[in-house]
Each structure stands twice: as C-alpha cells, then as structure tokens.
Symmetry: C2
Subunit: 494 residues, 2 copies
C-alpha cells in the first residue's frame, strides 16, 4: 500500500485537506500568467476603491494590460453583430431592420446547424460550412494556394488550439522530454502551457537592437544548448509579434522554415495579428504561403500549424472565443488522434464560429452592407496605425525610454532604464524591478501595464507591455503621464 | 545528447514526420470517447450517402447518440434567446418587439461587461454579476443554504470545469499516482480526461439490479483494491446518472459523503441533469445541500466541487458552451492556483455566460415574459418525462431487452441479450459485441446509439445508450424498430 493511505490529523483535530499546495498538481503550480497576474488583481482592487469613494491621485484605472479592444471602447462591427443576432433569434429574419445580405448569411449558417439552431452542438472540428469559408479565406489571403477544409479545426479562441497542438507534441521523460522553442519576449500563454504540460521551455531571444528581429543563428544556439537536456520538437513563432510588435520579413520566414526542416522541428505559427500590420513597408506573410512557395521538400514535408482568432484584427471580439488552426503536412494518424481529442470537448462555442465565418467571408462589394462594413473596418485599422505611431514617437521623446517601432499587433514593449537604487529597492521587496516600477505606476497614475518580466527579457533589461488600444483622445495624455512618471521615478531613486 | 537528435530518413528519401503515432503524447493516444466515436463517424457517412441518393433500408439517420436536444428539434426557450439577441446587438433595445423584462435583463448584463459589450473578455472566473446570480440560484435551490459568488467559476460547458478540477488533483508517479473513482457505467468524459492527464481510473460499479443504485460497500471495495497501485484522491458522482438515468436518494448521498470524508476523497458531483428528474418519488438533492445539512465536520471540512451546465435541463443550449462549478471547502491557496490556471484561458465564452444568467435568474411571476417562459419550460420537461416513461415501457415489452426506469437525465441504458454466435462473430471482427450490434442497427435502420462498452459495464453484459430526445411522434416507432431489429438479430445468430 502506498504512503497516501495515512490520514493526517492536524493538532487542532481537523483533517488535512485532500487538495493542498503540497498535494496538488506540481505542473499547475509552476504555471505563471502575467497578463492577468498580481498587477491586474491590484487594478481590480483600485477600481473597487475608486467606486467606494477612496481618494486616489487618479480618477480611473486605465487597463492597458490586455489586448481587449472593446473593453477600451472600440465599437463592434455592425454587420458581424447583425448576423449573429439573426442567428441567435431567428424571429428577427422577418424584421425590416436588418439588411438582406445579413439575413442571407444568417440563413445559410442556420441551415448548417443541427436543428437549424446555434443551440445544437456542432461537429467537434466546427461547422463544415464555416471550415469551408475559412479555407476560401486562406486561399484568397495566400494568393490562390489551396487550403483543405479538412485541415482546419475551429477552436475556442486561438489559445485553445495552441494548447491542443502542444498537447499532441508532449512526450518523454528526463532527457527525452519534449522541448519547445519559444521567443523571448513571448506571449505567456506559451510558458504557461508548457509548464502545465510538463514540457521544456527553450528560449530563443529576439534582437531588440534590430527591432526585435528573429535571427536563425540565435535559434541554432538555443536548439544546440537545449539538446543537452531535452528533445526539442517544436518551434513557436509569433508574427506579428506579441508583445514585441515586429512583422517578419519574407526572407526571415524562409530561413526559419529551412531551419525547422533541417532540424526536424514542428512549426507553430501564431498569426492572430495577421490583420494588424501598420508600418509602411511591413507586410504580413503567412508561414503556409511561404512554405508552399518554397516548393518541395518544404512544401510537401514540413509540418506546420497556423493559428488565427476573432479576438484581434479589426473586430476584437474577444468575449466570443472564436478561432481556428490550419494544420499542414500533419501525419494522417496523428490528425485522427487530434480529431478524437477535440471530440472530448464536444465543440467550440457556436457563436464564436459564426463570428469567424463573418470575418473570413465579409460582405462583397455588391452587397448592401459592404460600404458600412468597409468603412468601420478601415476606421479601426487606421486608428490603430495612428496609435502605433504615436506610441513609438512619444516614448522615444522620453529620456530613459526606448521603443521599437510598433509595426504590427496591438502592443508597445518599450525598454525602460531603472536606476540601480530602484533595482535594489525592488530586490528588498522580493519583486522583479519592472514589476516594482509597474506597481508604483499603477498606484500613482492608475495606468495598468504588464512588466517585461512577465514576458521574458534579456537579463538586466527592463520593459513593460502596453496596449495601443486606449482611445486616441486618452492615449496621448496617457503616454505623457507614463513618461513623466518614469522621469519622476528615476529622480526619486537617483 | 538525447537519442532524439538522430534524423531518420526513410527508404523513399523522405524525412520521417516529427509527429507520428510513435512520437506523439502517449496519454492522448490512450484517450477514448465513444459518444463521438466510430459509430458516429459512420452515421455521418451514411447521412452523406443518403444525400447523394444511395439506396438504404431507411430514409434518415436518427442521432440518438448524444444529449443534444435542439439538434433533435427542441425549440429554444424564447426568453433566453431574446435577451441574448439584445446583448449581441444592442440596437434592438429600441425595438418594440422585445418585452420590457428581456430589455432590463440585457441592459443589466451589458452594464456588467467591459466596454458594455459581449465582445470584451470577462474576468477569468466569469462576470461577477452572473456569479452572484448563480449564487442566488444555488441558495434558492438548496432551501436558503448560503452560496458565495467567490466560490463559483463560470466555464465553457461543464466538461471544461470538470477537466480543470481534475487537473488540479493530478500528481504523483507509480504507486502515488492520483486515482479517481468513477462510476461504471460512466460518461466517458471522465475516462478520457483521466487518460489525458495520466491519472488512474478507479472503477466502482453501479448496481443494475437495483436500478443503478450506488452502494457504499462497492465504493469501499474499489477503493481498497485501488490503494494497492495508486493513490485514490477523488470520487466522481453523476447524479442524475449518465448514461444510467438513476436519481440518488438522500440517504445514499449522505452515505457517500461520510465515506468520502472518512477516506479523504475530494468529491466531484456532476449535477448537470439537476432539472431533469421525471420519476414519481424521485427528487434531486444537491451534494452541497446534503453536505451542509449534515453539519460539522462534513459541512466544514469535506471538499466538494459541483458542476452545472446550460446544455441540458429544459433549455438544451449545448452550442453556447456555458456552465459553472461551485467549490466548497477548497483550500484557499489551491483556489488561488485554480484562479491562475483559469486566467491562462482568458475567459469562458460570454454568450454562454449570458444564457447561464437567464437559467439561474429566469422571469419572476410579475414579469411580462413569465407566462410564456413557464409554459415553454413545462412543455419541454413534461414531454421529456413522457418520453422517459415510454422508453422504459416499450423496451421492457421486448424479449431480451431490459430497461431500468429512466428516473432522470436524458438517456435510457437498456441491457440487451446477445446470442453467443453474435458474440463470437463480433470477436472475429475485432469488435466489442455491443459495438457489433449497434453498427448493424445503424446500417439496417439508420438508428445511431452508443454501445455500452463505450461507457463501461460488467463483463459479459451488453447495453446501449439511447437518448430520449427524438420528438414524441418519432420516438415510439423508433423504439419499436429497435426492438424488432434486436429480435431479428437474435434470430439471425441463434
């Protein structure tokens, strides 16, 4: 009999809990997720204190910590919500207040649902019609390169699909444990998922001096070192970058693909910001397109999973949890296993599938909703581009802050100089120095950003991630307030 | 360096895939999920063949394999969809076509959303207002016993919450590996989740002779045997039962709680069918209520997680993926870890949260929507009760089929006698005998049910799970057709 049989009775006569920090899943304990970490919990408390009338040096908390456009006041795209409302409550199909094309879309989707209702489960991989819409979208995006609906799996946001693919990849123990290369700085979903799955996180560093470029020599260094203690089997790329905002050049993508092929690494391309490219001269190239255009053996053999989401782009429909993964060159038997694994979760949320369907097949120029849809879409993207530029500009005017161009995605990730005495003070408090800085920033200004240590950074450098999502009229004062706080903080600890 | 470094090149010059059946996660390979298994894939193929005009001995496939009410033609509850449509497309708040109370509910929910939009992420545990609504619902359900909103976590359907709690519980290796007691027959989410998490499944058998009653002596037998090779730490109960349809008596629940407390087992109560109780004399008792009424030490110390869903009950809103878990007596530090784990997934789908909010706070008698809501709700539940009774009755008239009363939930799980020659033939084909029976049933009648082997059953006994969801006018012919097929099958192999 195992030692687990012993019943512990504490001094006070209470039985110990079954589930404690000591007995729980140690992998879960190791999980960290800074985007919703202690700084965000403190922001919630401050909001509550403000509501209760507690005096603060600010009147509102600005949540610049998370890529949540609608929470920052961005309006939903009318057409998307019209179609979804029609699907949710089909009585509205008789209403004169909805455009014909929205009704047509809704009817088409309802026809494809079990019992013609969003309330039925879909098949586990998502509604077939919508998988076909996604395939057509990918073909258009990639200049006609074919996409197979059977290789597309709808998901509960991109995070869910990323976890599913990582879950397939995890195996081995000790020195054969699966290693996964992730960029540093990274979006902490990756580190969290790898901790939870007990896989080995293998860090490769993006080059801050070259606008967070990805360098294959650095990939090779990371890989070689990792092979001493684990079995690296996958390489994750985030393009456009989160939190770093770079957009990868085509040659860089080609080099990464050659590297992955030679080193036998499964490629995971997080492309959820594919519609969020702002910088002149920057262009989004999908890994699928580049891979295919490189021809054999890459096109025919290199395994790839590419992820997309309804939470970002111009629509920002985070709350609906919609997304998809396209798999390329996946082993057929493994794909069956993936299908089986997805079936246990029954299906992704159908409303998120519906929104995804609108995103991948928006109104055509001949449709009555086209003009408004296009205008709303362009307005959002143009404002994001202006905010990306403004952010870079204001930060770079501030002494001690240096910000790479925000070429894409929704974040700036500026580097901040922190005086040695501040670093020392942070250490005394048991905090990462940039956590100390961000906490002080929050307490004194109400601005909530996430410390760079939550994403990873070269030792001795300090950063924070701030979204570019606050409305234009708030963003400039916000950036200035933040820069001024940094100057004050620097003086205080000099 | 690990052995993983070697690059395999097959005879044809192709590199081997990184991810193959041999290299993939072995835990995922072991996962099985019968409710969407081979029989359902075959049903999909048959539907396609019918559409293509292939001649079959039937004109439609009847999916009685999954608890998906709306796919079987059940209409959504009007009030739920009205409120959700208003939330999705708030322009409708100006429409005269929606009742005032639906508008009030929608406005209240939108006020509680980031940016007053369903498109914003909610906090990871779910919208605070809705957690409070859930707490009030639980208090009413349990005769005033308090529920704390901070112990309630909204989820992506019940499955998601069950997986989260199991994930916390999994630890150890070899003889200290976490064991989890589950009923046999079980809903295969449990076996699938335990396989995926590499935990040990510990089977306890329900007593078919006593209408699938749960017997503590059997729990004890299972526990004692399991302690030889693992560390049993949790006990799962499904009440009302899936696939077995029994409703537990209060004394039985008390006995289970005493057992769990004495043996230090974390209790997981799957109570998603709490609104689906049909049999006279049967009544749903929540584990939370019984636990609390038993007083200390049970009320104050026994750890419990109770799960609920919007997919079942009278609403059957499966596609929206809404649900919740209430935790009781959870260690505070573990609860923080759970919160952190949930935050990595960002948030449960907000539309599912909205539907849950309606389910737990439906129209009050003074509200304009009350009469219609109540009528729709009662009609669904009354029809389900009639179908439960009809199912039991028709099956028990058939020689060689024996069906326990369907006291609750949405399934019958009849036992079928299969002739020895049929069993032999199945073995030759490498199929479980009841899989062979169900496959033949599907091919010859178009009726899709799930073999008992997908849920677990005593060796040498054979069952199938069939939902009671087909519309009344289809259900009787269906039951008769199935009984006749069984008679024919029996003759064929005698």
């Amino acid at each position: 009999m195992g030692t687990c049989l012993m019943t512990s009775v504490a001094m006070n006569g209470l039985k110990e809990k079954v589930l404690t920090l000591d007995t729980m899943n140690p992998c879960v304990r190791r999980v960290e997720y800074a985007v919703r970490g202690p700084i965000v919990l403190r922001a919630l408390e401050l909001e509550q204190e403000l509501r209760q009338g507690v005096k603060k040096p600010f009147t509102e908390v600005i949540r610049a910590n998370i890529g949540d456009a609608q929470a920052m006041g961005q309006k939903p795209i009318t057409f998307l919500r019209q179609v979804l409302a029609l699907c949710v409550h089909p009585d509205l199909l008789n209403s004169p207040d909805f455009p014909e094309d929205a009704k047509r879309k809704a009817e088409r989707i309802l026809q494809a649902c079990g019992g013609h209702s969003l309330g039925a489960y879909s098949v586990s991989s998502g509604i077939q019609l919508i998988r076909e819409d996604v395939a057509s979208y990918i073909e258009r995006r990639d200049g006609g390169i074919p996409a197979d609906p059977n290789n597309i799996y709808l998901s509960t946001g991109a995070s869910d699909a990323i976890l599913t693919v990582l879950k397939l990849l995890v195996a081995g123990e000790g020195p054969t444990r699966t290693g996964v290369l992730i960029p540093i700085p990274q979006y902490p979903l990756y580190s969290a998922a790898l901790a939870e799955l007990n896989a080995v996180q293998v860090d490769y560093y993006l080059d801050e001096e070259r606008a967070w470029a990805l360098d294959v020599a650095e990939l090779r260094r990371a890989l070689c070192q990792a092979r001493d203690h684990c079995c690296p089997r996958a390489l994750c790329i985030i393009n456009p970058g989160n939190p770093t905002g770079q957009v990868q050049a085509r040659e860089c993508i080609e080099a990464v693909i050659r590297f992955a092929f030679e080193e036998r690494l499964f490629l995971m391309a997080d492309e959820v910001y594919q519609d969020n490219v702002y910088a002149e001269g920057s262009q989004f190239h999908s890994f699928k397109k580049v891979l295919t255009e490189m021809g054999p053996p890459y096109a025919t053999q290199q395994e790839l999973a590419s992820f997309h989401s309804v939470s970002k782009g111009y629509m920002g429909e985070c709350g609906f949890r919609g997304g998809y993964v396209e798999v390329v060159n996946l082993d057929a038997a493994v794909q069956q296993q993936m299908q089986k694994l997805l079936s246990v979760r029954l299906c992704p949320p159908v409303p998120g599938q519906v929104l995804l369907s609108m995103v991948v097949s928006p109104p055509a120029p001949s449709d009555p909703s086209f003009a408004q849809f296009q205008a709303e879409r362009q307005a959002v993207l143009a404002e994001l581009a202006a905010k990306a530029k403004l952010t870079e500009q204001v930060f770079n005017e501030a002494p001690g802050i240096r910000c790479n161009p925000v070429q894409g995605a929704m974040y700036s990730f500026p580097r901040v100089q922190l005086p040695p005495r501040a670093v020392q003070r942070a250490q005394e408090l048991g905090l990462a120095p940039d956590m100390f800085f961000c906490m002080r920033l929050l307490e004194e200004t109400g601005i909530c950003v996430v410390p760079g240590s939550g994403f990873g950074q070269r030792e001795g450098t300090y950063h924070f991630r701030m979204t570019i999502l606050p409305p234009m009229e708030k963003l400039r004062p916000l950036l200035e307030k933040l820069s001024q706080f940094h100057a004050k903080f620097t003086r205080e600890y000099s």
